[in-house]
């Protein structure tokens, strides 16, 4: 019995000292696991529009034609799209913002989100930065951002002077499901699947514990660039914070209400540029043609040597295509 007690005491003391080597952190403390948002850190550049505070930056002469970059997600941020700022040197006023609840923008409750609300945010961002009524406005959307750009011209076909859509994941629910089936195949025995799912017993997070939920989704993002992924993503690309609440909210809207951003696209008479990555096996020319067919005038271009994250990994191949399109509409 003495040996048993001694053995147990040694284990317990060892663990006490092992754990005592480092300070304890509060899981609920802001800024410990994910960055603070604009409402928590005043040093982050932001704008107040439409009842929220958005993380936002601009590059270039404010009187030049405006190019607004719309990041993917929903819930991701514009950090991996910052290469687009190079278009400022080509005579464009480049505007970035993290969408409502995404990246470093202010978080909101799950039930507050709607498609119309994020469209209204974009209207207010355009108003905020527009310096004259005649200033042209272009949208450059990537993934979910391209879906959002399509939704915007579907609703306001006369307010945008040109649109670049880099692999929108589906302009309506049917196409989104189709893309999802092609791009998210799971092998239950694989390391990738364990990396995505096993963490659910370590970190849960309640509905209002935004930072924990954002962190958990963020560390699960390695799933997207796992070896052999169908979207042709070669590795990690940077992000600030993934807004899990906004992502879950829009997934619920999609599942419960559905969506269709194509109903009025025949009214948008300006040529639309579609981009797809050569290495994204889930998208390709066929899917691009399917999506482009909703627009009266479109051009489809393949970006060589890259997959879905073309703006971060192969900007040198994206820029000439985008610049050529924009200069013809400038």
């Amino acid at each position: 019995m003495k040996t048993k007690t001694l053995y147990s005491a040694v284990i317990a003391v060892s663990i006490f000292f092992f754990m005592g080597c480092e300070n304890e952190n509060d899981i609920n403390e802001s800024g410990y696991l994910v960055p603070k948002t604009v409402d928590e850190d005043p040093s982050i550049p932001s704008i107040f529009v439409n009842g929220t505070q958005l993380h936002s930056e601009t590059f270039g002469n404010p009187t030049n034609p405006m190019l607004i970059f719309l990041h993917g997600g929903p819930g991701s941020d514009y950090r991996n799209g910052l290469n687009v700022q190079q278009l400022a040197k080509e005579g464009f006023y480049v505007v970035f913002y993290d969408q409502r609840g995404s990246g470093l923008s202010k978080r909101h409750d799950k039930k507050s989100y709607s498609i119309q609300l994020v469209l209204d945010d974009l209207t207010e961002v355009i108003k905020y930065y527009k310096t004259s009524p005649s200033q042209k406005v272009f949208l450059f959307g990537h993934s979910w951002g391209a879906m959002l750009a399509s939704a915007y011209v579907n609703q306001y076909p006369n307010s945008i002077n040109g649109v670049i859509l880099a692999e929108p994941g589906g302009l309506n629910k049917k196409l989104l499901d189709e893309y999802g089936e092609m791009s998210r195949k799971i092998n239950i025995f694989s390391e990738v699947t364990s990396n995505l799912l096993y963490v659910d017993q370590f970190i849960t997070g309640k509905e209002n514990q935004h930072a924990i939920l954002d962190y958990k989704y963020g560390i699960s993002s390695s799933f997207t660039y796992a070896k052999g992924n169908d979207e042709g993503i070669p590795g990690p690309s940077p992000f600030w914070r993934i807004g899990t609440t906004v992502l879950e909210s829009f997934v619920a809207i999609s599942e419960n209400e559905g969506f269709d951003f194509t109903t009025n696209l025949d009214q948008y008479q300006t040529k639309v540029l579609f981009l797809y990555g050569e290495l994204n096996k889930s998208y390709g020319l066929t899917f691009a043609q399917k999506e482009a067919s909703y627009f009266p005038v479109s051009e489809i271009a393949e970006v060589k040597g890259t997959g879905h994250e073309m703006i971060y990994f192969k900007w040198e191949n994206v820029e000439p295509l985008v610049l050529n399109y924009l200069n013809n509409l400038k």
Binding site: F16, N28, V199, P236
Partner: protein, 224 residues
């Protein structure tokens, strides 16, 4: 918190001299002289896992089994994601063939992906109520798994995402999940073939894990 964890470890270690998840056991077929229970299992426990456990049957008035187990998550890297448990289960009450059992385990588990390595100390507790015959049994189970304190160590990939991220131990609890389901089995000679399945919900009862189910197929071999 550190002191509490150390105390829990001390008590569990003290109570379980034979370093040994609760095993799925047919109490009706377990004979008094059968001391050792070896178990192999596989199934879905947050991801696909393979498990091994050992149980030691104490000669006490209320039947107690001290247990230790390890389960490994499937994947190309074997020992990056795993869970170990140490504890026991007790047969508390019986009315004819109906039995009431309870279990308690200390947990140490590890998770690693390209962005972070997590180590967690936790505890699970559960109850099993069912009908037991010598050749078969069927029961219902309910349990709670609490991730009490977790150590975070981030890779350079995550430090690129957020350079100010803080490594170290995090508390209070980083998570907790309830599970409820059924278990059953067939017994022959010294063996049991068992099956458990059920649903998992997070502790706020509002959300679930990405795959909110568990299932486990097991085989027990009992030795004197």
């Amino acid at each position: 918190m550190k002191a509490i964890i150390a105390l829990i470890v001390f008590l569990i270690s003290l109570l379980t001299t034979h370093i040994s998840q609760a095993q799925t056991i047919n109490w009706e077929s377990l004979e008094k002289n059968q001391k050792h229970i070896l178990n192999l299992n596989a199934g879905w426990d947050y991801s696909f896992v393979y498990g091994l456990s050992y149980g030691y049957h104490l000669k006490t008035e209320l039947p107690i089994i001290l247990e230790s187990s390890i389960s490994l998550a499937s994947g190309e890297v074997i020992f990056d994601d795993f869970k170990t448990k140490i504890g026991g289960q007790i047969h508390v009450y019986q009315i004819k063939n109906f039995r009431f059992n309870a279990s308690l385990h200390g947990i140490y588990r590890r998770y690693e992906n390209p962005l972070v390595t997590l180590q967690n100390f936790g505890v699970d507790a559960g109850v099993v109520i069912g009908y037991y015959e010598p050749k078969w049994f069927a029961s219902g189970e309910f349990g709670f798994d609490k991730a009490i304190v977790t150590h975070f160590k981030h890779s350079d990939i995550y430090k690129d995402v957020y350079p100010d991220v803080k490594n170290g131990w995090y508390e209070p609890s980083t998570g907790g999940n309830f599970n409820f389901g059924v278990q059953g089995g067939y017994s022959f000679d010294r063996s049991d073939i068992t099956l458990r399945a059920g649903k998992v919900m997070t502790q706020d009862f509002k959300t679930t894990p990405l795959i909110p189910f568990y299932v486990q197929l097991g085989y027990n071999y009992k030795l004197d």
